[in-house]
Symmetry: C2
Subunit: 734 residues, 2 copies
């Protein structure tokens, strides 16, 4: 390195994965774009705080949350930022810091065996699992790219021969069960190996990353820590991940929480390829799948940008995460400059310190940002888009919005839940009917080192943990991921094209043997109701009598029920397996035939669930937390409708209403305005329901059960009058 005291621009002596000469020439101007300038300042503050702590490369020992784990993680994060700061500012202290860390790692590395904790199917060197070691290589390759030209050839030889190449081989050749899968973990390994290959100009490493190991010797029966098969495909490598992990809509089988995690190596390796190997045209691959994946991801959020917590997902993860900052910046720069992405970047309030980030900061400064509008949409699941999907309905009312998510996807691999046709409901950024999410406290050492808790398997994955129908107190597919992976639910119809009704209907035929289910969810707005309401029609077909449980997990304070509750004087679990063992039975009552209602209050608002009861329906109030010796579960309430029957339908309306203020103590609209909910007609072809507003206004909804053709004509007779329509449903006011 040069010893000039004045900082100066770098010139690139190698093919960089992050920068080109044009980008570097723009740096001075870029410092006048507020978001870029501020992002540089934040990076400086972070890196300088880390530099002040000195070079710490401890012998690996701890699990997540422990010192050595967190230190190695901070090391790769700060090396990456320091590298970029060196290019942008020309200040050698940053290059020196990266080099000192790399040298310390190079000295330690040869002495390391795999991590002493053997909890993973693939233990790493610096971390308990190779996954984190692959994270390290993805970030460290970027840092190395930045100081490559500044280092001497001897220094590069040491770092490459004693640290980087051995680590790339370790993560691939030496750990094929980690490298050669179709799985988000392997994407990280592919990206790390490929990015290093691009930086050092090793085409063999790049080829290995794109196409996988040719001969991995993997046994087809081995499973990982999640119980999933290692060898699930003949193909491997980055291109195979792009082909097989996403649906044509960019939906990722494990769901948005893992898609958020998975997206980073996809976009950062793709950006590296585009910079260093543009003839690969990676952003055009599979009809632009990378841009679609980012677009799917930002749409899989509530109005606060928090991901729908389907499958194993920790709540609170959002598009504010580091990975989404990269994904939004890179998708904007390399995949179509959608101006709505700029408004997300504004909320993120930071950009990447590279060409993509500069582009975003520049266009925001130029006033090109458009508000991001969450839209109703269906995202198909499966490599070919034929494995069901996720239906997202959104309706903006005058006093707030209502969103519903109906899940009719495939199983979602090892992190999938047994949640076919489950429903979750949101108002703006808040959960109204929740999906429990994962039973895990990521990186919180007190909770089993931050890993998956046993209650994730015994409760959170089970069907009863979801707003989904449970038959004979058993989870879908008898709780077998392997069985579940053979099937999926299917969209029946989806229509978000009208202002007053948005509707999705899906079917499942495999979750329970011999039982067919159809669930239709509609959001409806009408001037008589101050807020949109949700209609839930779940029809089940069975030749024999079964026990049905349909839970709704709400939040807040129960205000009233129309049925009489007998409260439990001692609390007992609801059952012994399939998640029932984790629910305390708080109260039970028997519904009369007609409309049963439960009203609760949450966030200073009222909610009523009105349901059509048959004589003898059991209504249960329960709460999570039984058989939970380590207090790993939250204590959340639910109400459950139970019925013994063969074929039957569950028809309910969820109605947000009114408001309360703890300051004025005024309560407004505290009572439900729905009445007269009933089934007008039901056959194997149709179900038609009716309800009223208390003013007497009557509403009707007919749903096709067997023919979903959009051009099909239907007719049924109600009270001797003909009701005919075209398409899969009809909504009318009479």
């Amino acid at each position: 390195g040069a010893c000039d005291s004045s900082p100066k621009k770098q010139t690139l002596g190698h093919t960089s994965i992050l920068f080109d000469e044009a980008t570097i020439a723009q740096v001075d101007e870029a410092m006048s774009w507020p978001l870029f300038e501020q992002s540089v300042a934040e990076a400086k503050s972070f890196v300088e705080e880390q530099m002040a702590l000195g070079i710490q490369v401890p012998v690996p020992k701890d699990l997540a949350g422990g010192y050595t784990h967190e230190r190695h993680k901070l090391n790769y994060l700060s090396m990456q930022q320091a590298g970029k700061l060196f290019i942008i500012t020309g200040e050698e202290k940053y290059a020196q810091y990266v080099k000192d860390l790399l040298m310390a790692y190079a000295e330690l590395y040869p002495s390391l065996d795999r991590h002493p904790s053997r909890k993973s199917y693939s233990p790493g060197k610096f971390f308990w699992q190779c996954l984190n070691d692959a994270n390290w290589l993805v970030y460290t390759s970027q840092a190395y790219d930045c100081i490559y030209d500044w280092m001497s050839e001897e220094e590069r030889n040491i770092v490459e021969s004693k640290l980087l190449r051995p680590q790339a081989d370790f993560l691939s050749i030496e750990t094929p069960q980690f490298f050669n899968r179709i799985h988000n973990h392997s994407t990280w390994a592919n990206a790390g190996v490929g990015m290093l290959g691009l930086v050092i100009g090793d085409t063999l490493l790049v080829h290995r990353s794109l196409y996988g190991l040719e001969d991995d010797g993997l046994d087809t029966e081995t499973t990982d820590n999640d119980g999933a098969r290692i060898k699930n495909q003949e193909r491997a490598g980055f291109l195979a991940q792009l082909d097989l992990l996403f649906s044509p809509d960019g939906f990722y089988a494990e769901g948005p929480y893992y898609q958020r995690y998975a997206i980073y190596p996809f976009v950062v390796f793709a950006a590296s390829l585009q910079n260093a190997k543009p003839d690969q045209k990676i952003f055009e691959y599979r009809d632009g799948i990378l841009g679609k994946a980012v677009y799917a991801l930002v749409n899989l959020t509530d109005e606060e940008g928090e991901f729908f917590p389907i499958n194993d997902a920790q709540k609170g993860m959002s598009y504010y995460s580091r990975e989404l900052i990269s994904a939004v910046n890179i998708a904007y720069h390399f995949a179509g400059q959608n101006p709505e992405l700029l408004s997300i970047a504004q909320k993120q309030n930071t950009v990447l310190l590279d060409a993509a980030g500069m582009h975003v900061a520049k266009d925001i400064e130029a006033g090109m940002s458009q508000p991001f509008a969450h839209k109703s949409m269906e995202l198909t699941d499966g490599t070919d888009g034929n494995s069901g999907g996720l239906g997202i309905l959104r309706m903006k009312g005058e006093t707030g919005s209502l969103s519903a998510v109906l899940k009719y996807t495939a199983q979602g691999m090892g992190h999938g839940h047994f949640d076919k046709l489950s429903l979750s409901v949101y108002q703006e950024g808040a959960e109204v009917l929740q999906d429990y999410g994962v039973a895990r406290f990521v990186n919180i050492e007190q909770k089993d080192g931050g890993g998956y808790l046993s209650e994730n398997q015994t409760f959170a994955k089970q069907t009863i943990a979801h707003n989904a129908l449970v038959v004979n107190r058993q989870s879908h597919y008898t709780g077998s991921t392997e069985l579940g992976s053979q099937y999926h639910s299917d969209r029946f119809f989806f229509d978000a094209g009208n202002e007053d009704i948005k509707i999705v209907s899906a079917k499942d035929a495999h979750a329970y043997e011999g039982i067919g289910q159809q669930r239709t969810i509609a959001l409806i707005q009408d001037e008589l109701f101050e807020k949109p309401i949700l209609i839930d029609v779940l029809s089940v077909a069975s030749e024999s009598k079964n026990h049905y449980d349909l839970p709704y997990y709400y939040f807040g304070q129960l205000l009233s029920t129309t049925w009489e509750n007998k409260i439990a004087e001692t609390l007992r679990p609801l059952g012994e397996s399939d998640g029932y063992q984790h629910l305390w039975m708080e109260a039970q009552g028997t519904a009369s035939a007609g409309n049963s209602k439960i009203t609760w209050m949450d966030r200073n608002q009222f909610y009523t669930l009105s349901t059509l009861s048959l004589e003898g329906d059991q209504m249960t109030l329960a709460r999570t937390g039984a058989n939970d010796p380590k207090f790993n579960l939250r204590r959340d309430p639910m109400v459950m409708i139970s019925r013994e029957d063969a074929s039957t339908s569950f028809v309910s309306i969820l109605e947000p209403h009114g408001s309360y203020s703890t300051v004025s103590e005024l309560s407004q609209g505290a009572s439900s305005q729905v009445q007269g909910l009933k089934i007008l007609f039901e056959s194997e072809e149709y179900i038609a329901i009716e309800w009223q507003h208390i003013s007497g206004q009557t509403y009707r909804l007919a749903i096709a059960k067997s023919n979903n053709g959009q051009e099909e004509s239907h007719q049924i007779k109600i009270e001797n009058k003909l009701w005919d329509w075209k398409g899969s449903y009809s909504y009318i006011k009479i």
Copy 2:
């Protein structure tokens, strides 16, 4: 009234309680002060929305939350605002609206008996209780004042003879048990009667309001709905309320929630007196007690302005309430122009439409506002300030603040809780160790008409519902309000004069017969701890062996305990009475001698309670909600230390630490840094404790138990070294 089409200024033809000519002359200029202009616009929007609904004066029928109740309430609120708008804008439609309502009331009134619901000891005419009828008169007198000169003499005769005078007599002469008490309810009646008297120039009504009814014929044994005595003093009327309801510091015996409610008739009647009868010098009365009461109230809040929920208090009530807007405006205008009140008015974002509100808006516009800083302070309780008090400690650390409230007041009349020496803890606006508050959902009809729920008596008032020591599983004073009203706890010392330690110590000798308690709470900040910590030393003196329970009600997710928990396989209540019947026993364990710790996470932050255990201490994890057939209680967790002993001390440290992000998934500082907590020395005169930071730094705190003189010298010997100090405590680092 005149029929000019152009609005014009009003001139006052009578002595107004709200306006004078100078204020009216200022109206045009006032419309240029943003806060005043905006407040006028809001009032217009509210009143015009109500006017659009037409004149509705229904025959009274419903309880709180029901139509007729809410309608009569909206009527008086909109009449008051419409009256003021008439004066300010000169638009006759507002005067006409008030007159139409008054005429409709005058037509209905003669036919009304007391309200058909007979749930109150004093049923009203328009509402189920006279209290709401008195509210009506306080607001309606203001409306009438505004249109008095605009109405014809015949119209005034109708309204006064058929409505207002009969209502004033109804609330006083005809209901002496309501009018002639020393109680916040009676203050409303005093104010309503007195304000009407001032408007119509009836000195007899004014005299009645200031001095009460001379001969009320009340029986000394009668009680109200809360079980409190009606006839509790020889004196009555507004001046007696000022003398007897507040301590010299302006603390109101029932606590801030009721003080907030009570303050409105105090300040609005006082402002009326000052305007119409300035020779009364009401704001100078009792050394300026009205200003002190407002100042006490704004200090009895967390950093979001929410009142500490001691006694019967619904959480979420704050200085944003309508009553506090009036109190802050009137206290600013009439009682000293404290510029910190302006910053609260800015947060309230609205002002009164009168001289007080104009003054506030004007001075804010002139840039005179100063930030309101919550301070540590003691507020004495009792008419003469000799009945204990409330100690409020506040400490601002670098990464957040910690506040503690130690309650050593008198009982607080019918709304008092059995909570001697109870503790509550806040961080900024959030509860860390909560006071449960009231078991009531004010104005929510589903919850018993919005009234007090039976669980308020059976749980929320009981000692076990508080962070307070329970002896032999019985509440203080055997749960008798009458017995409790004879005693109070006492401050032992209070010192908020240092930067590194703020401390309060109080004693109780009557809550349990033959048992003495001293509780000392200290907030301490030290550079080794990132946030302030709280020390809790509770010494109990008894000649015989007792069962002690010391609960701490926390919020959030339990992470770990150092003792082994045996979880309950079926949940049973903790006991059968005194509130224990409402707690589910979730888990129990036995502590070993030494330090026991429990760590939880709430709002993305960690908390550890470290306590000094004796061999055999029982640790219980419990949760509210048992024996709660209507789901009237929240489901909140607590941890409880239980010990069988005679004289003993409970020594604990509450330590907020670290942080967690669900977005970055980084956890920082997740482990407690307190160790080695122990009692160094204990005698009848002193207790001295020690603890360490994990780095080894040692801290010591000695507390005097029998002599609290500030100039007293003390010495004890620890490990053969002399420790001497002056004053009631000593805090040292060694």
